[in-house]
């Protein structure tokens, strides 16, 4: 990791009125003066205000986004769109993060030490999001009306995730260490989802295929009847992914499943799909 310049953002208290701050991004901060950053426009409800009114900024500004580290020190659950469309650099939210965290981002790294609310990593194209708490609904999902959800990048959630995780996913990787809500991987057409807890109902509903799969390492209580059981085997490709999870993302639990046989289900036949659900 290159030496980064750190800006610390401190929310000035909690607000029931949401703040929309897509400007909290290394791309927006880099190359500006601290004064310019403090005056970047955010939305407080339907009102446009300078960021300094609700978020205090202090620290050093980098010339290039890839060298910019932004630390959010405090509860930011009311701040939406943190890191939206970012392409490089790093954001660390020490606490919760609001909706649309890292949505449509194409690069860089976001870590949230608490929970991330709905739509985190929505339509993400690249980069890595780590949520050390729980994630909300539509993690890595597609916005309503869009046919493409996540098309690249990686999301790792240490806790659980809500419903419709990875809806319309095309490529990329999502790892959930805990449970997921219903409709995980709904409409997915590519991409990889690893669930180390229990998945919710209607897993992979209307999934198309294109190499996409959902791997469940703690079983799956209920699968759609439109998924057909093929075989129980120990696929080589899963070793590659699990090794990757351990080596690149530090998912130590992945190691214990390297030689675990998995049941292979293929579907969703309701839409003529050839996506896979692999259940350990």
């Amino acid at each position: 990791m290159p030496e980064m310049k750190k800006i610390v953002l401190t929310p000035r208290g909690f607000s029931n009125i949401p703040i929309e701050a897509p400007v909290i991004s290394p791309d927006m901060f880099a190359g500006k003066t601290l004064q310019e950053i403090r005056n970047l426009p955010i939305h407080y409800g339907n009102e446009e205000v300078p960021m300094k009114e609700y978020i205090h900024a202090q620290g050093k500004v980098a010339e290039k986004p890839e060298k910019q580290l932004i630390v959010i020190d405090g509860d930011a659950r009311h701040i939406k769109q943190i890191g939206t469309k970012m392409s490089a650099g790093r954001i660390v939210a020490q606490g919760w993060a609001g909706m649309h965290l890292g949505a449509q981002m194409s690069g860089g790294d976001i870590t949230v030490t608490g929970n991330a609310l709905d739509w985190a990593g929505a339509e993400m194209k690249g980069g890595v999001i780590r949520v050390l708490g729980d994630a909300g609904n539509l993690l890595g999902g597609a916005y309503r009306g869009s046919s493409d959800g996540m098309t690249g990048g990686c999301i790792v959630v240490t806790g659980c995730a809500g419903s419709e995780v990875a809806s319309f996913m095309r490529r990329g990787k999502i790892v959930i260490m805990g449970d997921t809500g219903d409709f995980t991987g709904v409409h997915m057409n590519g991409g990889e989802i690893f669930i180390f807890g229990k998945p919710g109902k209607r897993l992979g509903a209307q999934a198309q295929g294109n190499g996409g799969f959902i791997a469940c390492f703690n079983g799956a209580d209920e699968l759609l009847p439109t998924y057909r059981y093929d075989t129980t085997y120990t696929p080589i490709f899963m070793r590659l992914y699990l090794k990757h999870l351990y080596e690149k993302l530090g998912v130590t639990k992945a190691q214990q499943f390297i030689d675990t046989p998995m049941k292979r289900y293929r579907g969703d036949l309701a839409v003529g799909g050839n996506s896979e659900i692999l259940v350990a």
Binding site: G127, C154, R171, K173, N210, I236
Partner: protein, 308 residues
């Protein structure tokens, strides 16, 4: 002109190398035994492009900790006269010898950033899946992008990387070990091969790395384009006028080396010559060339020994 190394006379000459296209793959399997079996099958009948479709050999073994899927593996290098021929040989050989071998998977051994060209090997082999093959993606948007194909087979599933890197390479590094007896010459040759295989990135495509029947271009028979290397056959050294077999030499073995670059081949030549000259009974070392008329690379024995 000659010089001495470890007390053995070395002719001050050069090996004439040719430009070829090379590729490298890593075959992993459930055990080292099966990785070796697949690699040995794949590199069979690939000693010389005189009569084989390619030249190939086993480069090294891969420890599970260093292999892409954490299983034991074997690295195979393969060389062809053109990208097209190399690609065709790889396809045929992978399809018939590795795809068929239980538990194997195949990974690219020449990363895209080092390759001159990426060959669509896995992408072509995928058609064996008859429509049930599955594309596998890794690293999109956050790591190096990789593509694989999963092909259903009777045993389970065959995994192969979509593209294999190929680069312009050097073939035909060589030297001849001349000894007082067959036994000593073979012993020295074995020592040379052992030393050569400590150099990364080279292969010795002949059986066990050794060629006892080096050839020359042409023949007294019009229908034959290569024949025994008469100047270096001790059995006719006093019958053949232009014999180059020195007095006291009764056996000659050739070692041919291919590598991805001239420096590696030279280093391997030096390591081999150095090891061979330490064996008792070795009288002379020389190299085969065509006076620089045919090959692009001239690899001097003297230069090769500088690093030895």
């Amino acid at each position: 002109m000659s010089f001495k190394h470890n007390g053995v006379e070395i002719e001050d000459t050069f090996a004439e190398g040719f430009g070829m296209w090379g590729s490298k793959i890593i075959i992993t399997a459930a055990s080292q035994k099966w990785a070796d079996i697949a690699a040995t099958s794949m590199t069979g009948f690939a000693t010389s492009v005189i009569a084989c479709d390619c030249e190939a050999g086993i480069e090294s073994r891969v420890h599970p900790d260093d292999s892409p899927d954490g299983r034991p593996g074997t690295t195979v290098a393969i060389y062809g006269f053109s990208r097209g021929k190399l690609s065709q040989s790889m396809l045929n050989r992978l399809g018939q010898t590795v795809l068929t071998c239980p538990s194997t998977a195949v990974y690219n051994g020449v990363p895209a950033e080092e390759a001159d060209e990426m060959l669509d090997i896995g992408k072509s082999i995928r058609f064996f899946g008859d429509g049930y093959q599955v594309k596998m993606r890794m690293g999109d948007g956050w790591q190096n992008r990789q593509r694989f194909w999963r092909i259903p087979v009777m045993e389970g599933e065959f995994l192969i990387e979509e593209k294999m890197g190929a680069k312009k390479a050097v073939a035909g590094g060589n030297f001849l070990i001349m000894g007082d007896s067959e036994a000593n010459t073979l012993k020295a040759s074995e020592a040379a091969i052992e030393a050569i295989h400590t150099v990364p990135g080279v292969i010795t495509p002949f059986p066990g790395g050794l060629c006892r029947s080096g050839s020359k271009v042409g023949s007294t028979y019009a229908f034959l384009r290569a024949s025994t290397n008469t100047p270096f056959c001790p059995a006719i050294k006093n019958s053949f006028k232009e014999s180059k077999v020195p007095a006291g030499v009764n056996s000659v073995i050739e070692i041919v080396i291919n590598g991805f670059d001239e420096a590696s081949v030279m280093k391997a030549m030096g390591a081999g010559v150095d090891a061979a000259t330490k064996v008792e009974g070795i009288k002379w070392i020389t190299a085969v060339n065509f006076e620089g008329k045919l090959g692009k690379f001239q690899m001097s024995l003297k230069e090769s020994l500088k690093g030895a």
